[in-house]
């Protein structure tokens, strides 16, 4: 069954269970668990004019997709509908995934060649919208097309026009890299508190702004647009009042370079991109490793290799961020597990970067970036302090400044920013002598520095909490271990398995490099460990290499999140096998 089977396509799409892929699971969820959001709210609203928006906005769950027909949002009609200012521009729709499209004019243009009345052409805008939705929720198109052909059998020209409009809408989604994801919300009653809905990219941006405030370091973002990371740039650009400086660079290399330069100057340097852009940044990240300056690199993963599938999700950059640099260049890696978790993960990434004076990778993906979930708004008072101490005094025995004299605990080197009298120093990408940081070609010094940089990153594990394992019955013999956006589906699958009476434990890694200190013990505690990943087994490889544990790598690389039902069956299979 398919959207096109709806009696006739209304401006407001309600997706019954089992229809639009992304949507259905969402709906279903609201059906079989109870969460405090209006039960049968539309997941998508197509607002053909301000009035329609006004009328329906109310019962829209935050995170819903809203397609607005900008052609009809004239100042007059906007005021007429009772809005003070244009809702598309004044940010009052920020809780939704808004697609602003000139539906009428675009459709009319698309149908220029058809000899049908202007009215008929304009009517076809519904089909254009439907086409766009079919793209966003990647639905097959044949069904709709045959439906339209049948429906207008007696008016072939109209039929053709509607099909053309439908196609145009579909292609529009492709061309403009339109996106839609519904994040599988963790069920079970939420603890008391104040909630809002949030998707991953804004959450990540907020996390960075918060970290900047908590550390007292002005945030500097150097970025080049790329799907699905661009929205972080867009979001941060709005927050200059927090002292945020955003720099749209000429390319990814300049983006990360500028961020590194800002870090050298004492700012919180951040760069954001997706797979292809990250690969371009690798040489500069290697420099950051050698300079030992704080830098946060956010990789919002998408389908690869190469340009791949820009609007689809994937976890296939893990090994790139681990190893995609020349020489021994270790970089810590943290990964967000849900849209709202992007906030906490951003703060954690900054903590590591400033504490250890190192570049840090933050991994998110298209699913988290665009999917949304209820988020208990944190109270600012509860956020950790990230206070940083810049070097202010010479630290050498003879009153000189030693830029590579390390903190014995963290192995971090001093961060002396320009403007500090007496600490003038030079650093660079050539190997440096221990302590003084001057150029050194000494073999033993090189060996020492290589191992020291590694030790610094490995040492971060000492600052990490033990891995949380969710094993309600305590008698599970199988562990499902994941990282990143698979948290939702794996969790949902585990719940299904347990409902079916089979015990299974779940653990999820926020820290991929270094691993939590107790990870090895946790792995060995279970008879089998299964690692579902939206790649060909990248985390699994790291685990096998480090712990020599024969983990089961379960992989799908379909550009889509795992389906909980499917995963559950796989888990059951493993459990019954042990």
């Amino acid at each position: 069954n398919d959207l096109s089977t709806l009696p006739n396509f209304p401006a407001e799409i309600r997706a019954p269970a089992g229809t639009v892929l992304g949507v259905s699971s969402f709906q279903l969820h609201f059906a079989d668990h109870d969460i405090m959001t209006p039960g049968d709210a539309p997941d998508v609203l197509v607002a053909m004019n301000p009035a329609a928006l006004k009328a329906n906005q109310g019962d829209l769950p935050a995170g819903a997709t809203v397609i607005v027909n900008t052609d009809e949002f004239t100042t007059r009609s906007v005021t007429k509908a009772g809005y003070a200012s244009n809702p598309i521009e004044d940010g009052s729709l920020s809780a939704f995934q808004v697609q602003a499209v000139p539906l009428t004019s675009t459709t009319v243009r698309a149908l220029a060649e058809f000899d049908i009345s202007k009215k008929d052409a304009e009517r076809a805008k519904n089909m254009f919208a439907l086409g766009l939705l079919s793209w966003m929720y990647n639905r097959p198109t044949e069904g709709t097309i045959t439906f339209l052909e049948k429906k207008f059998a007696r008016k072939p020209e109209i039929a053709a026009a509607n099909v053309a409009a439908f196609r145009a809408g579909y292609n529009y989604g492709d061309t403009t890299e339109a996106f839609a994801v519904s994040y599988e919300v963790k069920p079970a009653p939420l603890p008391p508190g104040t909630y809002r809905n949030i998707s991953g990219n804004p959450a990540l941006a907020y996390g960075l702004v918060a970290a900047s405030q908590l550390s007292g370091l002005p945030l500097f973002l150097g970025a080049y647009p790329i799907t699905p990371a661009s929205d972080i740039l867009h979001e941060l650009a709005k927050h200059k009042r927090f002292g945020v400086r955003t720099f749209q660079a000429e390319d990814e290399i300049a983006g990360v370079g500028a961020a590194l330069g800002a870090s050298f100057g004492g700012a919180l340097g951040v760069t954001t991109s997706s797979g292809p852009g990250i690969s371009l940044k690798s040489e500069t990240i290697g420099l950051a490793v050698s300079l030992e300056l704080p830098l946060v690199i956010c990789d919002i993963q998408r389908g690869g290799p190469s340009t791949g599938l820009p609007t689809k999700t994937e976890q296939s950059d893990l090994l790139q961020v681990m190893f995609g640099r020349n020489g021994e260049a270790p970089v810590p890696v943290v990964a967000a597990k849900s849209p709202s978790d992007c906030f906490d993960t951003a703060i954690e990434a900054v903590r590591i970067a400033v504490t250890y004076r190192t570049p840090v990778f933050l991994l998110s993906d298209g699913y988290l970036a665009n999917g949304s979930e209820p988020w208990q708004v944190p109270s600012v008072a509860d956020l950790p302090s990230l206070k940083v101490d810049f070097a202010t005094e010479p630290n050498g025995p003879d009153g000189e400044f030693l830029p590579y004299l390390r903190d014995p605990e963290t192995l971090a080197r001093p961060w002396a920013v320009p403007g500090t009298a007496g600490l003038e120093h030079r650093i660079g990408g050539i190997e440096k002598a221990d302590k003084t940081g001057s150029i050194s070609y000494d073999p033993d010094n090189h060996d020492f520095m290589v191992r020291t940089r590694q030790a610094k990153v490995d040492g971060i594990a000492r600052s990490l909490p033990p891995l949380e394992v969710d094993d309600p019955t305590g008698d599970a013999r199988v562990l499902a271990l994941g990282w990143g956006s698979t948290y939702g589906p794996i969790g949902a699958a585990c719940r299904r398995v347990r409902r079916a009476g089979l015990p299974i434990a779940q653990a999820h890694l926020r820290h991929v490099n270094p691993f939590p200190a107790d990870l090895g013990d946790v792995l060995r505690r279970y008879e089998r460990v299964i690692v579902p990943e939206m790649n060909l087994g990248q985390l699994a490889m790291l685990l096998r290499a480090k712990y020599l544990v024969d983990v089961i790598s379960y992989n799908q690389v379909r550009g889509l999140p795992f389906r909980a039902a499917e995963l559950a069956e796989v888990f059951k299979g493993v459990i019954t096998d042990v």
């Binding site: 405090m36 909630y195 918060a210 009042r241 300049a254 500028a258 004492g266 403007g419 030079r426």
Partner: protein
């Protein structure tokens, strides 16, 4: 602040360029000029890429970064934008700036952040032992071009003007007075200043600029640019740059007060004039203009960026809690 001397800008690092390298002279000239800047050492930063020239920061007792090949302008742009209070200098080479780093250079020029870019142009890749560079003359025989190089070189001055540069100048390693004069104007300029310094690589491209150095040829081929003065040169000053049907040309025996003689205007709004000047000389160095080609004021990127921040802040205290809560929350009891 204490009065600084040239030696205050020397570091304890042994200078490792080849004996006779033009870089020594440039280093001495820059160190000699620095006190004039009137900026405390700790507020000065030198950022370089990779190349012989890019070793420069190690020898300047300021803050410094010897970064990676071609990326210095991008790194410096980030630093200058985050810290408009600093005096940020970039040192680069013809390969570093024009080959691998070309994109960052041209965007830095149009963006006009407050950077001073010193391009040491020896028309060769020195550090990697002598391959041809984007400024090498056509037909150059090098390790990588045994039958002669084929690509038409860039004219860095023309390129910079085409990239909307607000300040463009050229000088010579061995002419300390002129070099320091150009540094003075570059430092005074608000925005990105590109200074091309002809530099001798006596190992891999020795004598490349002798025409402009030898006593017996220097005056005939060097066109000194001084804002506001007629452009005359040559031993007896009888040669001049004249305007002839729009294009600029060099003419001999031009009588005093000849109206065709061009009076140099570095501040001309239309870059066409500076561009035309940059075409007077080819790679053969005959009729080479030296000095400031163009110097026009334009708002700087770093200032405008920070103004936007101030403006946004003027809206009142930033409220983190408010940002996090947004305008659509619900409560669970």
């Amino acid at each position: 602040m204490p009065v600084l001397k040239a030696k205050d800008f020397k570091t304890d690092q042994e200078v490792r360029w080849c004996p006779g390298c033009g870089d020594y002279a440039i280093l001495a000239a820059v160190q000699g000029f620095m006190p004039e800047l009137g900026v405390p050492k700790e507020d000065i930063v030198f950022i370089s890429g990779i190349g012989c020239s890019s070793r420069f920061p190690y020898y300047m007792n300021t803050y410094g970064m010897h970064s990676i090949h071609g990326r210095a302008p991008a790194i410096a742009t980030g630093l200058a934008s985050a810290r408009p209070d600093l005096s940020v200098w970039v040192v680069t080479g013809d390969g570093d700036a024009l080959s691998i780093g070309g994109n960052h250079l041209m965007h830095a020029l149009r963006r006009n952040a407050n950077l001073k870019i010193l391009l040491f142009d020896n028309r060769i890749y020195g550090l990697t032992k002598g391959q041809y560079s984007p400024t090498s003359e056509v037909g150059k025989i090098t390790k990588s071009t045994p039958m002669g190089s084929l690509d038409n070189p860039f004219n860095p001055i023309s390129l910079a003007i085409g990239a909307e540069a607000s300040f463009v100048a050229r000088t010579l390693d061995s002419d300390r007075k002129h070099l320091q004069g150009v540094l003075r104007e570059a430092a005074a300029h608000q925005g990105t200043a590109l200074v091309q310094v002809y530099q001798n690589c006596n190992i891999f491209n020795d004598g490349a600029f002798d025409l402009l150095k030898d006593n017996d040829t220097r005056d005939d081929w060097t066109i000194r640019l001084e804002h506001g003065s007629p452009i005359r040169f040559g031993a007896d000053g009888s040669t001049a740059v004249i305007r002839d049907g729009g294009s600029l040309q060099v003419a001999d025996d031009v009588p005093e007060g000849d109206p065709r003689v061009v009076v140099h205007d570095a501040h001309a709004d239309d870059p066409s004039y500076a561009f035309a000047l940059s075409r007077l000389s080819g790679t053969d160095l005959r009729y080479t203009p030296m000095g400031v080609f163009r110097s026009v004021e334009r708002p700087t990127y770093d200032r405008m960026l920070n103004d936007q921040v101030d403006q946004a802040r003027s809206g009142g205290e930033a409220d983190l809690a408010g940002l996090l809560a947004g305008n659509d929350t619900w409560t669970v009891y």
